[in-house]
């Protein structure tokens, strides 16, 4: 059966496509502008001449960042944070979701533990008490202050738990009949079939760790310990301070300072910080619809 295409329908389709193009453009134009600014000459940027193509192409901003600023140091902190944080998140999600996916008949304390975790979503203690706990545990200025407080992302755990619960009972019973214990069932049966959902929460965990900045700001006293986003935040909010601090730190700066400005170096740093997200976000769409929507909304 074909839908008859009338003239008004054609006009609508053309307008619609044009409109969607404009909207889509509005979503990515700022990033193209950012890229152009980062490769442009300082004078052209200050004069507001740069739109979507670099004016007076130069890579001096990137050289400045690589040679003089703490950008690389904070990049390493962020990488370290993701390398510890993401596997830790996944391990705890799996270890928690599997027992909680059992029925109440198999695991009697199930609902007690479920509520134990869900309450932490419902009630948030707030800034100061959380800070005091991290301080009391002696984690200030340590990378662990960035990964331990959020080690179990409860929402992701619920998604995985709901998915595991939707698995056919026969699958688990077959494993049990074959003599597999819980650990074996989890590793050999449940995990392989749960991979799409786990991949979803893994991607979310990566994004979360990469984008966090606030905890870095309050738990880290020294700028060398700042993860990338926290470092960028200080640059964004207070670029003059950043330029001044940098002049104090290193000797070979004078040759750059005439060529770069806070705006061009800021743009270059923000663009570099975006790269990991740009690499993984095309995958997020695919997993999001299948993994998260299926896992969170019960039929």
């Amino acid at each position: 059966m074909t839908i008859r295409t009338s003239l008004s329908r054609k006009i609508f389709l053309v307008c619609n496509t044009v409109f969607l193009l404009v909207v889509a453009f509005a979503c990515i134009a700022p990033f193209i502008n950012l890229l152009a600014v980062s490769f442009s000459d300082k004078v052209a940027v200050e004069a507001g001449e740069v739109t979507f193509f670099p004016v007076g192409f130069t890579t001096v901003s990137y050289e400045f960042i690589m040679n003089t600023s703490k950008f690389v140091v904070s990049l390493l902190v962020s990488l370290q944070r993701a390398a510890i944080g993401v596997p830790l998140n996944l391990l705890l999600i799996i270890l928690t979701a599997y027992p909680l996916s059992k029925s109440t008949a198999d695991f009697r304390a199930r609902s007690i533990f479920s509520w134990f975790f869900v309450v932490t979503i419902l009630f948030n203690a707030g800034l100061i008490p959380t800070y005091m706990v991290v301080k009391t545990t002696g984690l200030i200025d340590s990378i662990w202050s960035l990964v331990l407080p959020g080690a179990l992302p409860v929402f992701s755990m619920l998604v995985v738990m709901n998915y595991m619960r939707s698995l056919p009972k026969e699958l688990l019973e077959a494993a049990y009949v074959d003599g597999a214990g819980h650990v074996q069932t989890l590793i050999r049966v449940v995990l392989p079939v749960s991979l799409p959902t786990i991949a979803t929460v893994a991607l979310f965990s990566v994004v979360e760790h990469w984008n966090s900045w606030f905890d870095g700001m309050i738990y880290m006293n020294r700028i060398e310990n700042y993860p990338l986003q926290t470092y960028l935040q200080t640059v964004v909010v207070n670029p003059q301070e950043f330029m001044r601090n940098n002049t104090d730190l290193s000797g070979n700066l004078s040759k750059y300072l005439s060529m770069v400005s806070a705006r061009t170096t800021g743009a270059a740093q923000m663009f570099l910080a975006m790269i990991p997200i740009l690499c993984i976000y095309p995958y997020l769409q695919k997993y999001f619809t299948t993994g998260l929507v299926m896992g969170s909304v019960k039929e």
């Binding site: 889509a24 979503c27 502008n33 533990f113 869900v118 932490t120 419902l122 706990v133 179990l152 819980h182």
Partner: protein
């Protein structure tokens, strides 16, 4: 298997929950979190609610959050409907991929970009406005415009991702319904009105109800990175207020009291919204 998670959650979540007692103390940090502090009952709350700007802060929080919530439902639904009219799968995927990019970037990066774009002197948006003969707008510096800027930029960040959910539920509508409607003589607009919208209405209700929980979340990351003392009168929300009070002015007890007030109200809204979600759409967390 549960032990590691239970231990960590006990320390960091329940430990800090126990820490809300600070709100009822005259807290002296040197004595330690569970040290011998002086209890003052509800005095901190009393002080808090007699502060001159607390009314404005609560009002700003609710205005910004509610505006974001309403726009955050209308825009993604409208976008999903328009995108659904595109039949070509490749084009559809192309648009979808572009519009949800901002969602995955942090407010630190986005505000850095936006501050440059919206700058009244050399910002791209204002240069464009000037060329069109419009006066430059102080998007981030004018107290009247600031909340609007916050709502628009928040939608700009989130609508693409929000529309993914609606697109997924649009594909779940039975095509036979459309065929029947065409036979009955319904045009595209009538089909949208009578089939498509009712088809995704349960998802719209669900998202609305779950959004209720955020009634006191104006968006700390976004506002903290873009505001300035000039716009405190309309842009200061509970979270930014708590932060300034607690970290910058070291008023630990007052700040905790404000945070506790916010958490308490939020918790009530979360519970109400889950009850409503269960009642209207059968949604349960587990």
């Amino acid at each position: 298997m549960l032990i590691p998670a239970v231990v960590l959650v006990t320390i960091f979540s329940y430990g800090s929950m126990a820490g809300v007692v600070i709100a009822f103390q005259k807290f002296v940090p040197a004595k330690g979190m569970f040290g011998h502090q002086q209890w003052v009952g509800f005095q901190n709350f009393h002080t808090l609610f007699s502060m001159p700007n607390i009314g404005a802060v609560i009002r700003n929080t609710v205005i910004i959050a509610v505006s974001k919530m309403i726009a955050g439902i209308i825009v993604p639904v409208a976008f999903a409907l328009l995108l659904n009219e595109v039949r070509n799968v490749f084009t559809k995927r192309f648009f979808q991929t572009l519009v949800y990019l901002p969602h995955f970037l942090s407010w630190v990066i986005l505000s850095g970009i936006l501050i440059n774009l919206l700058s009244p002197s050399a910002g791209f948006v204002n240069i464009l406005l000037t060329k069109l003969g419009i006066e430059p707008v102080y998007f981030l510096g004018d107290p009247d415009v600031f909340p609007v800027t916050m709502v628009i930029t928040d939608i700009w960040k989130a609508f693409g991702f929000g529309s993914v959910i609606y697109l997924a539920s649009l594909t779940g509508i039975n095509p036979a319904l459309y065929e029947a409607a065409v036979i009955d003589g319904a045009n595209r607009w009538k089909q949208t009105l009578h089939i498509t919208l009712p088809g995704i209405s349960s998802m719209i209700v669900l998202m609305t109800v779950l959004g209720l929980a955020n009634i006191l979340n104006g968006g700390f990351d976004q506002i903290y990175n873009m505001y300035s003392p000039v716009v405190y009168s309309t842009g200061d929300i509970l979270d930014t207020f708590v932060f300034r009070l607690g970290i910058e002015q070291a008023q630990y007890s007052l700040s905790t009291a404000a945070g506790l007030f916010k958490s308490g109200v939020s918790m009530i809204f979360i519970i109400i919204s889950y009850l409503l979600a269960d009642k209207f759409t059968g949604y349960r967390v587990f």
